[in-house]
Amino acid sequence: MRDSFIDTATALLDDDPRTAVVLADISASSFAPAARQHPDRVLNVGIREQLMVGVAGGLALTGLRPIVHSYATFAVDRAYEQLKLDLDHQGVGAVVVSVGASYDGASMGRTHMSPGDVALLDTLTDWTVHVPGHPAEVPGLLRAAARHDDRVYLRLSTEVNEVPLPGAGRLAVLRRGSVGAALVVAVGPMLRPVLEAVAGLDVTVAYTHTPRPFDVAGLRELVGPATSAGTAPAVVLVEPYLAGTSSALLGTALGGVPHRSLSLGVGRTDLRRYGEPADHARWHGLDPAGLRRSISAFLG
């Protein structure tokens, strides 16, 4: 996904004179050819993330379309107030493109993880959040984001689904269960383990790479009304970031519809462990076996 992002951003710099890339050393070498071509629009400020976002705000004030890029923990957690004030409060936007958010950088430990990035952006105003599940979804999302001036977060991962679903800005149904079957919504790269986890279960599986704004209409349609027998529909939300990040949104979306819900995602605890992303998926119950245990227990 990172390569797909760099290739697309490099092409955008050639195609659209509004595009600018702001870096804080991360991926600077990958953008070196683009920087030679466009020295005024590829800006590496050094390891200065507050300045990276502040510069993006200034560029946007002059009418450019800044793309900001770093590890999620540096671009979002560390520069949170700059996102809030140098973008939101100024009434301007940027495309923030992160890597390594939850535990892609497992071997680097907690300091390089940001499972709370989407929750932090939820405290701000009108951020579109894309969580692609496949590298082939990235170019379309980035190109679309470069065309306007709104605030966009593109959360890239090393975890990848089997196939790209570029049109899944709204909920796309991958598997349809029987009438009244539970709905399992997988966000971004959670689709692959979810599909494996629910093999043989009577559930509907839907996918989106765009959890903000959430496809509320699609969710209501898929959940449907409570059955005449009084059985409340069941919804399982599986997200690759902090568990429960979207649960309030889900509750609001289904307001008035009796339902049961389960929100799965990354736990809050600092595990103080390294290893591989697969190890953290297992420890957080987000591997296929863990997901199946949670979903089966919930469905009863």
Partner: protein, 245 residues
């Protein structure tokens, strides 16, 4: 590195000169409409003289050109105590004078920190210290990338505001890249809790900025300092005023 400043370590003139205010008479009444304060003279506002010199003699911006891409940008980073800013904006016709009568009221566009979305002529919304210089660097870079070589970007900060580390990110980067269209103005009323040993100007010159330290009430000196920048490096003017009471 070029500096026309006083020697490092010197942050204020040795003897505050006796001077005649160059401020226009109408500013006093405008300020009183904001503050309701009959006791304090306009000189109680540490930024007033610098702001007046900027808007009266330096900035290429007017109410009619407030959205012109070719205009100079003035960014008030030190968003605290914007009364002097509002008074100058009113005196120069950016905002109607009657707006001054309801500072921070429920229907007022003028708050204790300015909001660019509410006040014509205000380039950035500030209040939380340490945001203006980064936004100013980005603005200067954005203008340059679009071939807009004429506008300068002026950012006004306070000496205590320099405590925020974000400023030092911007100072280092702007200096290292020779961002010649950027001017920072630091109002030094010696209010930083732990001071700036070695002087404020040296914080900038060590990164390659040019610097001038002046009496922050002397309009001609302020004007001269603001117009002595060099094309190959950012410029800072340290405007020294009386210590904060």
């Amino acid at each position: 590195m070029t500096t026309t400043t006083t020697a490092p370590g010197r942050t204020r003139p040795s003897a505050p000169p006796v001077r005649r205010s160059g401020l226009p008479a109408e500013l006093g009444p405008l300020l009183r409409r904001l503050t309701g304060d009959e006791k304090h003279a306009p000189s109680a506002h540490s930024t007033l003289d610098v702001l007046w010199v900027l808007y009266d003699r330096i900035l290429r911006v007017s109410p009619r050109s407030a959205d012109d891409p070719e205009r100079d940008r003035f960014l008030l980073s030190k968003g605290h105590g914007p009364a002097a800013y509002y008074a100058v904006l009113a005196a120069k016709g950016f905002i109607p004078e009657y707006w001054l009568d309801d500072l921070a009221g429920p229907e007022s566009r003028l708050g204790h920190h300015p909001d660019r979305m509410l006040v014509p002529g205000v380039e950035i919304g500030t209040g939380s210290l340490g945001h203006g210089l980064g936004l100013g660097v980005g603005t200067a870079l954005g203008l340059r990338a679009q071939g807009l070589d004429q506008p300068r970007v002026y950012v006004l900060l306070g000496d205590a505001e320099l405590d925020e580390g974000s400023n030092h990110e911007a100072m280092a980067y702007a200096g290292a890249t020779g961002l010649g269209t950027l001017t920072a103005i630091v109002i030094d009323n010696q209010s930083a809790s732990h001071g700036w040993p070695g002087g404020i100007a040296s914080r900038f010159t060590v990164h390659g900025w040019s610097a001038t330290t002046v009496d922050g009430r002397d309009h001609d000196a302020i004007e001269t300092a603001l117009t002595t920048s060099r094309p190959d490096r950012p410029h800072v003017v340290v405007a020294v005023v009386d210590p904060k009471e």
